[in-house]
Amino acid sequence: MNLAELQKKLIAAARAHAPGDQVPYAFEKRVTALLAARVAPDPAGLWVRGLWRAAVSCVAVTLLLGAWTVFNPAAGTATPDDLSQNFENALLASVDQNDQAQ
């Protein structure tokens, strides 16, 4: 078999059968819709949205803590085992010692 001739024939066959250029119906509409969905939002908008979300979370945490402080039956009655009292004592231990020395 003459391979060079076959190669030439097949290349000629490929040239003779140029592919069609038909485009599927409403292809451009689909591309435009995809692009519109992909268009990046502006950074300022993203920042504002993030800030709003953070503000809502902060308000929720504040309300929860406030409610807990108000409705906690142990609030306002500091016992010797109170963690905050212990922490304060440890923090101000050196000052207390100075006061006692004087």
């Binding site: 024939k9 097949l10 490929a14 592919p19 069609g20 485009v23 591309v31 995809l34 268009v39």
Partner: protein, 191 residues
């Protein structure tokens, strides 16, 4: 009044995505015709075309308007087709024993008398697509552009981003690769 290409591109760059639609409408036939040279299934062809347009939109800022928009777009199309070929190499594994009857008939006619096997026959078209599918991606690209589309080496270098020397080397190798595939086909079929 119809807007010029430059006006449409400027509008798209300013954020008016709808101005891209006339460009898609105008150049999609060329994009589809090119994609059909490298992919067989319509779903794959459509995917390639869609990817080309999405890339074109996102890289539109890099279009400086020194060359026509069509050239810039065709470069992108050819490169996307090449990426597609590199990602879909599974078809290269099929054997020539799977040739259809018209393809076998056409080959037999060619063996008996090369002049009697018509190039415009549908079987020849099927056979050449089968042979092209067996080529490596760079070989297929270069054979398509150089031999089938009859483009110059310089043009191919511009379209693919390869150097002129690399195009020549790849063209030489591609012809050898094609010859080897045809040799294998002859051996499978007639030995």
């Amino acid at each position: 009044m119809e807007r010029t290409e430059a006006e449409l591109i400027a509008a798209v760059l300013k954020g008016d995505a709808a101005s891209f639609e006339p460009l898609v409408q105008k150049y999609s036939p060329r994009v589809f015709a090119t994609a059909r040279r490298y992919a067989r299934r319509e779903s794959e062809i459509e995917d390639i075309a869609q990817e080309v347009w999405l890339k074109a939109f996102s890289k539109l800022q890099s279009f400086r308007g020194e060359a026509p928009f069509e050239h810039w777009l065709m470069r992108m199309t050819v490169r996307t087709c090449y990426d597609f070929l590199r990602g879909h190499q599974r078809n290269r594994e099929s054997a020539f024993s799977e040739l259809s009857e018209p393809e076998t008939d056409w080959l037999e006619r060619f063996v008996a008398d090369p002049g009697s096997a018509a190039e415009d026959a549908n079987a020849a078209k099927l056979l050449v697509s089968r042979v092209l599918e067996k080529l490596s991606p760079p070989a297929r690209l270069v054979i398509t552009l150089l031999e089938i589309e009859d483009r110059s080496v310089k043009e191919i270098a511009g379209l693919t981003g390869w150097s002129v020397a690399l195009v020549k080397v790849r063209a030489f190798r591609a012809r050898g690769e094609m010859r080897k595939i045809l040799g294998k086909m002859a051996k499978d079929k007639y030995l």
